[in-house]
């Protein structure tokens, strides 16, 4: 635990200093890594800690992004107000959809979450007068003091750092432990007095909230929002990131996001059309060879070392 705190502090220090050494291009990449990491960590609150796999998490990312863009552009709210309200909209969406979704389990949970996300996607796609339809909403920029790439990067780092602290506290709270108990054995959790559905819904709403934060950060970073944010392929992104990083650890998705975005950048730079092919191939390798993800690979080794030391 202490070791991971040290490593995290080191990572944070590096993240703070990096923009001084790197060109704007890499700062953009770092911002995108941070967004992907938050989205995946929010998703993993459900998958890794709650044992619930959503196939429609793009819905809450998109709700956050569109709420931020619409409030800033159509309602002409100040950016920070729009930014603060957007995750609440996503959380409300997660409450309404989640109310029905958590009633189901496993495959049906995944399917209903996908159905709701697809409903949201078609609404965004069709409601052209509000959302711009296929053309999306353009010119969603932050105010002047956050306009530069580096300023926005620090803003992202601040927001996402706060979200990580909050998520870490949630996972290690009694609520987080109850969630893990439900994951391991819902029936037993119910017998010891845990209200299973309420905890699941709570986790769903929290996950939706933080996905909404990721969406809102991304909207102002990207300067535009598109219906694709809610499309089912987007829902697979956090799933892939979590899978790469390993779902059993809190920081797995962070490592996964780093690996995912760096790979995407390396391959896209060389030949963008090959990226889905590589991603697909990597996924197949992970599924067939490394079911614990890349972090799992190291963790298993660390665990084995500890076991050896313990014997001594």
């Amino acid at each position: 635990m202490a070791r991971s705190t040290v490593m995290l502090a080191a990572a944070l220090a590096i993240a703070l200093v990096l923009p001084l050494a790197l060109s704007a291009f890499y700062v953009v990449l770092l911002t995108e890594i941070a967004v992907a990491a938050l989205f995946a960590t929010a998703f993993n609150l459900l998958m890794g800690f709650g044992g619930m796999v959503s196939f429609g998490h793009a819905a809450y990312f998109a709700l956050g992004a569109y709420a931020a863009a619409l409030l800033a552009q159509k309602a002409e709210w100040p950016m920070l107000a729009a930014f603060a309200a957007a995750p609440l909209v996503a959380a409300f969406g997660a409450l309404v959809f989640g109310f029905f979704i958590v009633r189901l389990s496993h495959t049906y949970f995944a399917m209903l979450s996908l159905a709701f996300a697809q409903i949201l996607y078609t609404i965004i796609f069709k409601w052209t007068s509000l959302t711009g339809g296929d053309n999306g909403l353009l010119n969603v920029w932050p105010p002047a003091f956050l306009r530069s790439v580096t300023a926005y990067y620090y803003f992202t780092l601040l927001v996402i750092g706060a979200c990580f602290l909050a998520l870490h506290a949630i996972v290690n709270s009694p609520f987080g432990y109850a969630l893990k108990a439900i994951r391991e054995n819902p029936r037993r959790a119910r017998f010891i007095g845990v209200n299973v559905r309420r905890h699941q819904l709570c986790a769903f709403v929290l996950s939706g909230f933080f996905s909404g934060v990721a969406g809102a950060v991304f909207a102002f970073h990207n300067g535009s929002v598109f219906p694709d944010f809610a499309f089912f392929t987007k829902s697979f992104e956090p799933l892939i990131v979590v899978l790469l990083g390993g779902m059993q650890s809190f920081y797995g998705p962070l490592a996964g996001a780093f690996g995912f975005k760096v790979m995407e950048w390396l391959i896209s730079r060389w030949a963008p059309i090959y990226w889905p092919l590589f991603l697909g191939a990597i996924l197949i390798v992970v599924i067939l060879v490394l079911p614990q993800g890349f972090v799992g690979l190291f963790e298993r080794r660390a665990w084995r070392l500890r076991a050896v030391n313990g014997k001594k």
Binding site: T107, F116, A281
Partner: protein
């Protein structure tokens, strides 16, 4: 990603109820053709094959490629229509043997992610082989014109699509309920282990079922090729439609898929008439309602 218009170009918007019922029926029959393979594969292997739309897309591209290669006489179209789905079936069989076979005992989430990975890979390979430009496939001369049905002009080629779909339904019923192979497939959906214990090579049966399901997707794609622009992205359209139909009908249920396809077809047909703006949301809304009330679908069976 437009749902109704691109996938079902023949859908009408007529004040005549009879015309609209017919239109919905035709959409439903085609939806059945698109989704029954997915349902069949799930019934036997318990895998929700997200790459179903990709197989459909490959079928359409193979159709376009074969027609380009074959000499330009009237028979070529029919030869291509025969060969393209077979090519897709071979592809499906190879994928089952090399990849899916390894994950049957794994967590269903891993299976879903694997088939999602196939979407990405097949999509890129199609782009690499056939390039980014849309392809169009000419209709055979005999079916290039149009006929009048209930006073409405109706392209004759659609009659082939709409006529073939029910034929496929009847053919499937005959295969499942009147042949030994069909009996084995049905037995596998009920109790795979018992079937294996009785000496049936279940592994081979899985490969055959997967190839057969892929063939159905390929047939849908090949048939649809002359009615739509053969383009990247047609995979997602079909996947989502097929997914909705299969989930509403009950994964693995043949009759459920048929009923659900017809219901969704009518829903889309009348949706366009009554709620033009929101009609494409209706199938998802129906799917959500069905999942809430009967998660296993209209005619599916609850797990456990």
């Amino acid at each position: 990603m437009e749902m109704t218009t691109s996938l079902f170009p023949w859908i009408t918007n007529s004040p005549l109820i009879a015309v609209q019922v017919m239109s919905g029926l035709s959409v439903g029959m085609f939806l059945f053709l698109l989704s029954v393979g997915m349902s069949l594969i799930f019934g036997v292997t318990r895998i929700v094959n997200l790459a179903h739309g990709s197989f459909y897309m490959v079928g359409a591209y193979l159709m376009a490629a074969l027609i380009e290669v074959l000499p330009g006489n009237p028979v070529s179209f029919w030869i291509a229509l025969l060969l393209a789905p077979i090519g897709v079936a071979v592809l499906g069989g190879v994928i089952e043997i090399t990849l899916l076979r390894r994950v049957y005992r794994r967590d269903p989430m891993m299976q879903l992610i694997l088939t999602f990975a196939l979407i990405l890979i097949i999509g890129t390979l199609v782009l690499l082989v056939w390039g980014p430009d849309n392809k169009s496939v000419a209709r055979p001369e005999a079916l290039a014109g149009s006929v009048r049905i209930l006073g409405q002009p109706f392209p004759s080629y659609y009659l082939l699509v709409l006529g073939l779909s029910p034929l496929v339904a009847v053919g499937l019923w005959l295969v499942f309920y009147r042949t030994r192979w069909g009996m084995l497939v049905r037995a596998a959906t009920v109790d795979r282990e018992m079937l294996g214990a009785l000496g049936v090579d279940v592994s081979r049966l899985y490969t055959q079922v997967f190839a057969f399901g892929s063939w159905l997707a390929g047939l849908g794609g090949a048939l649809a090729a002359p009615t739509v622009a053969v383009a990247l992205g047609m995979d997602a359209d079909v996947l989502i439609n097929a997914f909705v139909v299969v989930v509403i009908g009950g994964l693995g249920s043949f009759a459920g898929t048929l009923i659900s396809a017809l219901v969704v077809g009518e829903l889309q047909s009348f949706g366009i008439l009554i709620f033009p703006g929101v009609s494409i949301v209706l199938p998802f809304a129906l799917m959500a309602v069905v999942l809430m009330i009967r998660p296993w679908g209209l005619l599916g069976e609850p797990e456990e």
